[in-house]
Amino acid sequence: MTGRFDGSVALVTGAGSGIGAACARMFAGAGAAVVVADRDLAAAASVAESLPGAVEVAEVDVRDPGQVATMVARTVETFGSLDVAVNNAGISNSGVPIHEISREDWERVRAVNFDGVFHCLQSELRVMVPNGRGAIVNVASVMGTVSGRGVGAYVASKHGVVGLTRAAAMDVAGSGVRVNAVGPGFVDTPLLSPVTRGDIDSVAANHPVGRLGTPEEIAAVVGFLASADASFVTGALYLADGGYTAQ
């Protein structure tokens, strides 16, 4: 599938590790010019160094709409366009029930996972809609459609991402821009909380396939949604969860 994104410009947030890094590798390997954006510039640079082709890094805290706007503007300045955006930056919460979530934890998760996606959508769509083309993939989660215990802030934020995805898709349908979400099951990345990591066997067993996903498996679904193969797919949540939500 080399060349599937030849001539395209792809922006990936949270690309310094995990699913975002796998997406950046997937796009670069398929011919796209890639902007590797992360709050951790060193992590972004380390991923970027390993990629073939045209690559830029961007330091961005998606909680800040100004930084997000700058990231998108620089992408267009550097590579002349923005064709694909993966709004992936996200964090997990501290593993306590709703009535014990601290205000700080709630705000932090909401600001990154929910407000961050909103900021990215705004800046990206302001480029893509006038261009009449573009594909955005928001990284939601199985927790965007079901819940678990002790993940209230995360669940709410990811349900919010699914809602934003649908609303944005409706708003721009007919403009040539598509907006979709991918819903990974548990994936082996640095985002896994210590609690989850300590109980990895039972987390794996909650997936009917009996294992966690890999970042590359999620990137493959992102690649499909971003590609012309998905040209009629918009406003959709594609779950990549090893059967987690089928049970």
Binding site: A169, G210, E217, G235, Q247
Partner: protein, 248 residues
């Protein structure tokens, strides 16, 4: 694009989605067993694939008949290792509101769309190897309702249920089962529905928000994704190809 190998069985292979998807799968390297109730339609799909340099075999079968389903499964196994199954045969039935929908009409739709999908899964899953994948054709009607289409909507909701159970049952064998949910697709079925809806005074099916109906190719590309290795962690779920219809 990801290459396929082995035998992929396609039911309803003579219809618009089935024919286009069969051609796409064959173009990616699969050997297609093109199953259709109408032998001419199955032959036409297989012939088109062979003319393009691909491998395809036609097979006439009624998917509601257990013996005929066993027969197409056996034929597929004779051709080689079965790596994919596009369990796609379906009918729209007669448009009528509840109270006016006949039992015969209801049963006919359920027979093809639910019993046919069940029989196909029952016959083929035991023959499939680890790494293989199944796609059932559901519909945005499997997620939402449409007036005048009780049987169809119920049947497509049932397909999604069957998909989830099948996925759970074969997950440990490394087989994936998903459903694709198209909205209105250009072709014979929508022509029939447009005509029927107009005849009984129901509004036409709304256009999707992208300003057009889906093409058979839109659906074929999603099926190709679900049957290929790129969707390796995707199982037991529904993939909408509906131009934001179910985002509303």
């Amino acid at each position: 694009m990801s290459e396929l190998s082995g035998v992929v069985v396609v039911t309803g292979a003579g219809g618009d989605i089935g024919r286009t998807t069969s051609a796409l799968l064959a173009g990616r390297g699969a050997q297609v067993l093109a199953v259709d109730l109408a032998v001419d339609a199955a032959e036409a799909t297989a012939g088109e694939i062979r003319a393009a340099g691909g491998a395809a075999t036609a097979f006439a079968a009624d998917v509601t008949d257990p013996d005929q389903v066993t027969a197409y499964a056996r034929r597929a196994a004779e051709l080689g290792p079965i790596t994919g199954f596009f369990n796609n045969a379906g009918i729209e039935g007669r448009v009528a509101p509840l109270g006016q929908m006949t039992v015969e009409s209801f049963d006919a739709v359920m027979a093809v769309n639910v019993r046919g999908v069940f029989l196909g899964l029952s016959a083929l899953l035991p023959l499939m190897a680890p790494g293989s994948a199944v796609v059932n054709t559901a519909s945005s009607g499997g997620l939402r309702g449409t007036a005048g289409m009780a049987a169809y909507v119920a049947s497509k909701h049932a397909v999604i249920g069957l998909t989830k159970v099948a996925a759970l049952e074969v997950a440990e064998r490394g087989i994936r089962v998903n459903a694709v949910c198209p909205s209105a697709v250009e072709g014979r079925m929508m022509d029939s529905l447009d005509e029927q809806r107009s005849a009984v005074g129901l509004p036409a099916t709304p256009e999707d928000r992208m300003g057009r109906r889906a093409s058979p190719g839109d659906i074929a590309r999603a099926v190709g994704f679900l049957l290929g290795p790129e969707s390796e962690f995707v199982s037991g779920t529904t993939l909408s190809v509906d131009g934001a219809r179910t985002a509303a």
